[in-house]
């Protein structure tokens, strides 16, 4: 049986965000996620998650990443979480923010120092065409300058579409503001709020739905406590939740990922392999004509509870048949020492 291993622990601590970006796959907004609701992981629960994660053999490496919504709306609490991760000997600690809190150079300097002291080793800063109406480039500039002075590596997380390239976003930045910055660009995906607001004609399609995600998994806890194998869209479905941290341990949730047939197929086989099964089960008309990636397909299929339920039943039946077949063949075989 293939192993399920995770590159990092991702804590989506809040649904709320100061922005309401059109492409946001989490549909985050000031009053919470328009899809998921308005939840917030309490600090004592987050501490327990980190403690459990530190002992989890499936978590490779030592990375803890905090995202939201916008977790830096609760700056002091987020700092406490970073401190807990450092205390539990995670060495690669950071988070994603839109930089709204970098109000001035002085404030950004002070807060970056506080973050570094708390154990933060990097930050990812979201900036793109869709963030522009909500967070000014000046805030991002302040944060980039402060991070360079503090010595914290920074990745600018940008998104592009056919009409909105990253040069539009970064053209106003001075060269010296971008020193030691990593620009990590991705294609905007028609997922979450983006599915309503971004037309498919605007989206880069990419390589389609080939391949699987077994090397890209991140153990993800959503603000309502659900546990997921990734943070790339699966976390916006109810049907791919592999437990809830309010009632299950992390180890129990991971066990479900390792043993439930449909989740194993998604992780190791790839979501693309589900397409003929979905058609065979009579839900072919629910599929879109085109998907931009396996993540887009995964989200679109598993957000539909009836399709997800039919898939789960199909794979459970297959698992049961395989078990019966294995048992009957072992009964039919004569013992080795039989005459």
């Amino acid at each position: 049986m293939s192993q399920v291993v995770f590159n990092s622990l991702v804590l989506e601590t809040v649904d709320r965000c100061n922005a309401r970006c059109a492409m946001c796959y989490q549909a985050a907004a000031p009053k919470g996620s328009e899809i998921r609701g308005d939840d917030h992981l309490p600090l004592d629960l987050v501490n327990r998650i980190i403690d459990e994660a530190a002992e989890l053999p499936e978590l490779m490496g030592d990375r803890v990443h905090i995202s939201g919504g916008e977790s830096f709306l609760f700056f002091d609490e987020t700092v406490q979480i970073f401190k807990r991760a450092k205390a539990r000997h995670f060495g690669n600690i950071g988070g994603t923010t839109n930089a709204f809190w970098a109000l001035s150079d002085a404030i950004a300097d002070r807060r970056c120092e506080e973050l570094a002291q708390a154990g933060v080793t990097y930050l990812e800063v979201s900036i793109d065409h869709w963030h522009k109406p909500y967070v000014t480039a000046d805030r991002v500039r302040c944060l980039l300058r402060a991070m360079r002075r503090t010595g914290l590596p920074v990745t600018l997380r940008t998104l592009s579409s056919r009409s909105h390239h990253i040069d539009d976003v970064l053209e106003d930045f001075e060269d010296q503001e971008l020193l030691q910055v990593i620009v990590g660009n991705g294609r905007v995906q028609p997922v979450g709020r983006g599915a309503r607001t971004i037309p498919m004609s605007e989206v880069y399609i990419g390589g389609g739905v080939q391949g699987c995600c077994e090397r890209q998994l991140n153990l993800t806890i959503s603000p309502n406590g659900n546990v997921y194998p990734c943070c790339a869209g699966a976390d916006m479905t109810e049907s791919l939740a592999c437990g809830n941290i309010y009632r299950d341990s992390l180890a129990e949730a991971v066990l479900k990922m390792r043993t439930e047939a449909v989740i194993r197929e998604v992780i190791h086989g790839g979501t693309g392999k589900l397409i003929p099964i979905i058609e065979q089960l009579g839900y072919g008309d629910r599929l879109l004509p085109q998907y931009t990636s396996i993540c887009h397909l995964c989200w679109d299929v598993f957000r539909q509870d009836d399709v997800a339920g039919a898939l789960r039943q199909h794979y459970q039946d297959k698992q049961f048949e395989a078990l019966v077949s294995a048992l009957s063949s072992s009964v039919d075989e004569p013992p080795l020492d039989a005459p």
Binding site: G91, E113, A116, T121, R145, R148, R149, T150, G151, L152, P153, S160, H165, I166, D167, L170, E171, E174, D175, Q176, E177, L178, L179, Q180, V181, I182, V183, G184, N185, G186, R187, Y204, G206, G207
Partner: protein, 288 residues
Amino acid sequence: MTADEALGYVEAIGQHSDAHRGSVDAGLPTPPGLYVAGAEPMAQLPDLERILDCAKLHRMPVELVTSAYWVDSLEIAEAVLDRLRTRVHLLTITTRRSDVDSYGLAAIDLLLQAIRRFDISIQILVTVGPEEPFPKELLALEVVNSDSTVIRIEPMYPNDRSQLSPQSGAWPEGFLMESPPRHARCAELLGFVITPGGDVYPCSNGIGFPELLLGNMTTHTIVEMLDKALAGPQLNKLREEGPYFLFDDFRRSLPLEVLPAGYVSSCDFHRQVMARNQQSASRVDSTA
């Protein structure tokens, strides 16, 4: 460094890694990543393939650094990548303003187009300084925007520091920092860097500085050099905290006017410190 020497080094590291697989005492990740850089590794493709085959045998993930200017057409790029596809995991394309002005962006564009068809990750490393402005037209390329792309923007080091200070205006405001970053730890930058001739350093920015020299592949064993790296209190402090602690020492021991005037990075500061130490040592030697 000849191809045979490089091959010997990779084999030696590979054997060390295999012998210590999974052990916390290995001193290196097991398997370690192999970073291949040089004038243009693609210029000697058969030799490169021998080295990469050896790395593959020892299960090393490989990062290959190229200028991309060997790419004349999409067909050539695809043919080369097809030969490397099972051996290279990350291709880093390096460029700067003067390269773009001299050669254009066509070669990078073609290489990016080709690499999208293979299971190889890609990043672009752009070096930026006052006389090498960021070639922002790179960001407008369709191929950069149409799929995942990583662009690292690294500062140039000043060639002539005598005219430099953050106040002098020789470099635009913001390029130089008055003090090195307080929390820029070296951990992520450390490696086992073998130079032509076999000298080994813990990072590429430390090449040529005796105080960071770990040994030589011809006269020391890998274990000896790793032991030296792991046992050295200064290197451990650099790993955990970065070189800022040296700045405090520096300020205490030297008058302000002899402090280097501004740094583009933590590594830049550390190199200034080591260069000064080297000068002092040679003065002591000549006096003796």
